[in-house]
Subunit: 136 residues, 2 copies
DNA sequence: CTAAGTGCAAAATGTTTGCATACTT
DNA sequence: AAGTATGCAAACATTTTGCACTTAG
C-alpha cells in the first residue's frame, strides 16, 4: 500500500544523506530543487508526514524557530524505552538509552501524581559540542 | 516605561480570571470582544508577549494544536528551581517544586554530556485528573 | 512633548488541501 | 482497473508588521 515512485526515492535519498543532521521541510525542498526529479512542496510535506508515522523520521520543534525540524532516526525504531534530548543550539536530537527514567516515572507518579509520557517529552539543553561554544 | 491603558486593564483582568486555566490568544480575543473596551488582536498578542517576558504568563505548546497556550503564573516568578509538567489532555501547566532534577542534572552531565535546561524543558504526560479519564 | 500603546488591514510564515492528472501494482 | 502519489495553486491558521493615530506620563 505504499507505491514506489521516483520522487519518493529521491526524497528518501536526500533524507538519509542528512544522516543525523536535523533539517526543515524547507531545507529539503531546496535540496530537491536541483534534482533530476524535482519534488513539490506538497509531496515533501506529505512524505515527511508518512515517514514520521512510520517511525523513520522524528519531528520536533526548537524554539524560537517556528518551523518543524526533522531528523532521520531509522535505526531507533525501538522508541519505547529511551528518551530524547534536543540541543537548542545546534538543534540536534539525541537518543539516550538509560534507565534513569524508570525511577523517575515512579517518582513523578507517586510524589506528584503525574504520569510522564516519555514519547512526547523532550529534554532541552546543550549538547557536549555546544557547551564549549556558548556562554549563555 | 509601561503605561497603564484601559485595554491593558481589561486584558489583565480577563487573563487573571482564567486563574490557572490555559488559554489561547484566540480564546482571549473572543472574550474581549464582549467588553466595554474591545481590544484588538494586535494588542492582545503584543501584550501577551510582554507579559511573558515579564514572567507573569507562560507560553507553551501542546501538540497537535498549532496555537500557543498561555497560562497565568503570576505567583511562580521564582522559575529558577522548579520544573514544568504539561498535561497533553487538559493542556494545563503544572509547576513542580522538587529537587529530583538536581541529581538528574549531574547525571545527564556526567553520563550523557548533556546540560539540561530546566527553563525550556517541559515534561509531557497526564495529570492526576486526566489519568482517570483517558484510556490511551 | 515624548515615549508608549493602539487599531486596522496587509503581510508573513509554515503547512495543508482540493482537484485534475499520472503512475504503480 | 483500483488504489496511490503528484503538482499546482489556492486555502489555512496563527502570528507579526507598518503606519497613522491616540493616549499616558
Amino acid at each position: 500500500m505504499t507505491y514506489r515512485t521516483k520522487q519518493r526515492d529521491v526524497l528518501l535519498d536526500k533524507i538519509m544523506a542528512y544522516e543525523e543532521e536535523p533539517f526543515t521541510a524547507d531545507d529539503l525542498i531546496l535540496k530537491l530543487m536541483s534534482t533530476s526529479k524535482p519534488v513539490s512542496k506538497a509531496t515533501v510535506y506529505r512524505t515527511l508526514d508518512k515517514l514520521e508515522r512510520d517511525g523513520l523520521v522524528r519531528k520536533y520543534y526548537v524554539e524560537p524557530s517556528e518551523s518543524a525540524f526533522y531528523q532521520y532516526v531509522g535505526q531507533h525504531l525501538d522508541c519505547e524505552d529511551h528518551y530524547h534530548c534536543v540541543c537548542y543550539q545546534c538543534e540536534r536530537l539525541f537518543h539516550i538509552d538509560c534507565h534513569i527514567f524508570d525511577d523517575l516515572d515512579a517518582h513523578f507518579q507517586n510524589e506528584h501524581h503525574f504520569k510522564i509520557d516519555l514519547q512526547r517529552t523532550i529534554l532541552y539543553g546543550l549538547c557536549e559540542n555546544c557547551q564549549g561554544e556558548v556562554t549563555l
